[in-house]
Amino acid sequence: MRARATVRAVLANYVRRIAAGVTLESINKALDELVLKRVGA
């Protein structure tokens, strides 16, 4: 199931980052900033 593969990848990514001491909120904030940076905003 492709949808599950995607969610699996998302959660594994979060789990690794949170275990390294990063908060969920700061991960999402960083993702927002990354997107803004890429689109040049």
């Binding site: 199931m1 949808a3 593969a5 699996r8 998302v10 594994a12 789990v15 969920l24 993702l31 927002d32």
Partner: protein
Amino acid sequence: MLDDSITISAFSPEEKTRLWQDFLVDFGLANIFTYESANHCLVITELSGRPVPSTPEPLLHIARLAISALRLVHEGEVYAGPTFGELLPPRIMKPTFPDVPYELQLQRGPFAARYVLKDTDTDSVLTIFHALRNCLSEHKAGPLSLALRRFNLSYGREAPDDQIIDLAIALDASLLADADRDLAYKLLVRGSALLAGIPEVKEHSVTLAALILHGTSSCMEARVSQISNRRTSSRLIQRCY
């Protein structure tokens, strides 16, 4: 070996036979699981030197972490909850193998592909298991508790729609945990940004977003319509239960 007390090991043919015979004798599970489905065993020999716990909770917590780790590494289903629950009280006092106080049979779930654990998976399973241990305390819900719970629940759903709802809630609880507006947009861009470096799922991030936003069946379309109209994501779907 997950740590100094927990191991995932393959059954030898003799162990498999003995374990299966015990199941038949003790619980009569022959009609529930096939013989071939049991090919790995999660062995908990001791909990960090502590004595046998009076409640199953520490064991169940470790079992949940181990199964979640296996599911997060690659596709396929491992499943041990009901078996573990059935077996726990007698098995604590009466181990199947003389040198193994506890064991969990990892089985194929009823609705998913068989899980094949390879030697090359060892590092990934270890990494995720220890990361999960850091993220999820036995007594306190972590930031990813809901997401992981719904991800795990999706394995037990038969209908694709139900699976999608669980997976959507898992995404909501992670990618949209701190968002209260522009949910569809944030789901798409955050998901794509997070998965951008993973080639095998790069196209899936768009697929899933499209799946959730546009729906794949009449059942989902009704819910998706609510999502679009009311600016909510799967939180709304959750209320439909």
